[in-house]
């Protein structure tokens, strides 16, 4: 297991290096520069390019960037908050995005699993249909519609929660955004859990467990759920990364200074360092989550662990 993890970590690091290189090249190919403004003369642009070292060849810039990155220096912003250290910009906003994302994931997982299990246990009854309907609605209606509905009814009409994000009440003001964000993961997890669980319930080994006279709830928890969770965890990995890296739309609606919004603005403003940093953070989180999911498999399903140790 340890050898396996070590190998995976090394592969991950190599992947990240390649991602960084590709990002750098893509950034270079992006049309326009951070210093395109009606009011800027050619001479000023040349000065600015020289000031930020952008006049150097891409290879020089790349290795300099990679070197600085290892020291935790992600460069400075050119356009969004001029001359700000990108590491600070990303750090502050990532924290908030992770907060909302984690809360949304928690709500999504709990609700999704409950809905899925409920539907599977009551297969082909009205409960199943209701749960399926909820899932379909959740998948097909975009989160910003839910966000605005929640804002209007829960916050604006009923005054139960604040409309906008507020640093003075960070937890309370993040509940609505988290609920809005959790709608789609809830639906996805519910649908997946339902179909997996129905499969498991119809399998021979469950029949065997039942015939052994194991109590119903015990059977569900230690036999059915455990086997259902393996594929469910596979889909949860990417969902989690998606949630943690922020949603531009939800952040805009609730006025949250998160990383999703930052990345979109950075792309629009051609703020190279910020775009690379955001995209890279996204990649790191994705790869780390995938690694984590892989390890989790081993814990849930001994067969995978054994198979991997053989390699």
């Amino acid at each position: 297991m340890r050898k396996y993890i070590l190998k995976r970590v090394l592969i991950s690091l190599a992947t990240l290096f390649v991602i960084l290189l590709v990002l750098f090249i893509l950034m270079d190919l992006m049309p326009g520069t951070p210093f395109n403004d009606e009011k800027l003369t050619e001479a000023q642009k040349t000065l600015l390019f020289a000031k930020y070292g952008l006049d150097k060849p891409i290879s020089t810039r790349f290795f300099l960037y990679a070197k600085n990155m290892l020291k935790g220096d992600l460069g400075v912003s050119y356009a969004i908050n001029k001359n700000f250290a990108v590491s600070d910009m990303v750090k502050d906003r990532l924290g908030i995005s992770i907060g909302v994302g984690a809360l949304a994931m928690l709500i999504g997982t709990v609700l999704g699993l409950l809905l899925g299990i409920l539907a599977a246990l009551n297969h082909n009854t009205w409960i199943d249909n209701l749960c399926s309907a909820i899932s379909v609605i959740g998948v097909s209606i975009p989160s910003y519609v839910f966000a605005l509905l929640l804002c209007y009814f829960i916050a604006y009409r009923l005054h139960w929660l604040p409309i906008l994000f507020n640093t003075k009440q960070p937890f309370i003001s993040l509940i609505l955004p988290a609920i809005a964000l959790s709608v789609s993961p809830t639906a996805n997890i519910a649908r997946f859990t339902r179909s997996e669980m129905i499969d498991v319930l119809n399998s021979d080994y469950i029949l065997l467990v039942q015939s052994k006279g194991v109590k119903n709830w015990k059977m569900i928890i230690s036999h059915v759920l455990r086997n259902t969770l393996i594929p469910v965890i596979t889909v949860m990995g990417p969902i989690l990364v998606n949630l943690l890296t922020g949603s531009s739309v939800i952040e805009k609606i609730f006025g949250i200074p998160g990383i999703g919004r930052l990345m979109i603005t950075a792309i629009q403003e051609n703020d190279y360092n910020v775009t690379i940093a955001c995209a890279f953070v996204y990649s790191v989180m994705y790869i780390v989550t995938m690694l984590f999911v892989d390890i989790l498999y081993g814990i849930i399903d001994p067969r995978i662990r054994i198979a991997k140790e053989d390699k």
Binding site: P31, K51, K82, C151, Q268
Partner: protein, 531 residues
């Protein structure tokens, strides 16, 4: 399921109990909405309206603009000017001081601060995007004669000089503080000094920035009596729908409305339709391409000029925008003779006449020897809804007149890059005036301005008018030359095609007053009051 309901209900009840705990209860706080964040606190590097507005609040210059856009003395207590109008000597107020974030007095504001600040603005090392500002003001040199006396020499008398001193690019900075902070200067509330009616208390990028009143500012007492708040909070909100809910819930005092929200809120108390200085126009690539000849043809250009129903286009934007009548916007500048607005003095230099446009297009096609003219219309997709709507409208009217139009949508930065390289045909672009004078627009289209004159419009008559206007000391003559120049540029040559002047609708809570909108330079929030 029941358990879940219980958990959810408990959660809501708990949340309801904690409620809204306001710790600003006894303070007079105004909360304003801004749809963009501060980009830079450094007044010499900033280029955007939001940053400039913030700077006018916690900093100050020799003058400031009143609600009508006329200058009045601010940090300067008095000034003298020589007979030729070329040497100005300012006396800086004795009570002008620098304050840190905690509100502690750091040092007096001196003439040396201005001397250093202006040198910093034009220094190559800083590469400021506004390093041309002093030259526009006709400034030749500057020096501090003593602690409180600042002398400025102009290379020619200037009618805009005193007004331009209210622009943040000319505000002072304290040399030893700037040097001590180094790279960190002006990256947070802790790393700037205040010398204005407010002190920057905090800045959370992407979220909000807050100013507290400076009780030692020279007009602080009078201002407090008039209802000046203890604190002004700027909240960064991009979504207009939740912002409107927040306004109606009473949590914020202003809200910026989008086109769709205007109709529903037009009658609302506090609704304001404001005219902005931004003039949107079509830039035609006349001479900035090796292959393109279409727009060298005057009939084609004139056909475009006549094809647009500007009234209808502006109306469709539904955000207070108005039809352009020339390249100089409404309410930008008044005549030096009697104060008449430039637009009123000039009248309209554009007209909508689709029959004439068709006629001119036919002539143009014949001269070019082509059967059809296809216009690739470049516009930015991230420059606001009104730009997208306007581009579609322009397409409609040009097609009505017989052109074929392809819309080419790009991000703003890319649009600008294409225009700089001359790699476009017709582009919808804009200019925001930096100072209240026609020159801010007229300078754009002279043939030697390769930065802004993307289409390389070149006219000897126009160049001469503008050059003469800038050289003369007779303000009435100068005004007349600008009037002539606009006629040459738009009416005679159709060198650029003015389309609309941007508007902006917002709601300001009744009881909140003193927000001064200027069509040029920077809106003034330093006299905001709340009762």
């Amino acid at each position: 399921m029941k358990k879940l309901l219980v958990v959810l209900l408990t959660l809501f009840v708990l949340v309801g109990c904690t409620g809204k705990g306001s710790d600003d209860a006894e303070e007079n706080v105004v909360t304003l909405v801004t749809n963009t964040d501060i980009i830079y606190l450094d007044n010499h590097v900033a280029t955007d309206g939001t940053s400039f507005i913030a700077q006018t609040m916690f900093m100050a210059g020799l003058t400031e603009l009143d609600k009508d856009g006329n200058w009045k003395l601010d940090l300067a207590e008095s000034y003298e000017v020589n007979e030729e109008g070329t040497v100005y000597t300012f006396k800086i107020r004795d009570d002008a001081n620098w304050y840190n974030k905690a509100g502690e007095e750091v040092a007096p504001v001196t003439a040396y601060d201005f001397e250093y600040a202006w040198s910093r603005l034009v220094s190559e090392e800083l590469a400021s995007e506004y390093n041309w500002w002093l030259e526009t003001m006709s400034v030749e040199s500057w020096k501090a004669l003593d602690e409180k006396t600042f002398e400025v020499t102009l290379f020619a008398p200037s009618g805009i000089f005193m007004g331009c001193l209210a622009f943040p690019s000319t505000f002072p900075v304290k040399e030893d503080f700037v040097k001590q902070q180094g790279d960190q200067y002006a990256t947070s509330a802790e790393t700037v000094l205040a010398c204005g009616p407010y002190i920057l208390d905090s800045w959370t990028p992407g979220y909000s920035y807050e100013m507290v009143k400076n009780p030692n500012y020279y007009f602080a007492e009078e201002y407090a009596k008039a209802g000046g708040p203890d604190k002004v909070v700027f909240r960064v909100l991009e979504d207009t729908q939740t912002a409107l809910m927040e306004y109606e819930a009473g949590n914020i005092d202003t809200v910026i409305l989008s086109g769709e929200q205007v109709d529903a809120n037009k009658g609302a108390e506090g609704y304001v339709d404001r005219l902005q200085g931004y003039l949107f126009y079509l830039s035609l690539n006349i001479n900035h391409s090796d292959t393109l000849v279409t727009y060298q043809n005057e009939n084609i250009r004139q056909a475009i000029l006549f094809a647009l129903d500007r009234e209808a286009i502006a109306k469709s934007l539904n955000d207070g925008s108005v039809a352009a009548e020339g390249i100089i916007p409404f309410k930008l500048a008044g005549s030096p003779v009697d104060g008449t607005d430039f637009r009123e003095d000039q009248g309209s230099v554009v007209a909508y006449d689709v029959a004439k446009a068709k006629e001119l297009l036919a002539l143009g096609k014949e001269e070019l020897g082509v059967d059809e003219i296809t216009i690739n219309l470049l516009y930015g997709t991230n420059e606001g809804d009104s730009v997208i709507k306007a581009a579609e409208q322009i397409q409609f009217y040009l097609e009505e007149a017989g052109f074929k139009v392809n819309l080419v949508s790009k991000q703003k930065k890319e649009r600008l890059a294409l225009m700089t390289d001359g790699d476009y045909e017709v582009a919808l672009t804009r200019w925001g005036p930096d100072y209240a004078d026609p020159q801010t627009y007229m300078d754009l289209f002279v043939s030697q301005n390769t930065s802004n004159n993307s289409g390389r419009y070149a006219s000897e008559a126009y160049d001469k008018d503008v050059a003469d206007a800038e050289a003369t000391t007779d303000m009435a003559e100068r005004w007349q030359l600008f009037l002539d120049a606009e006629k040459v540029l738009v009416e005679q040559d159709a060198g650029v095609i003015p389309v609309f002047q941007a508007g902006g609708a917002m709601i300001i809570r009744p009881g909140v007053s003193g927000i001064e909108f200027h069509s040029a330079a920077v809106d003034n929030y330093r006299h905001i009051c709340k009762k």
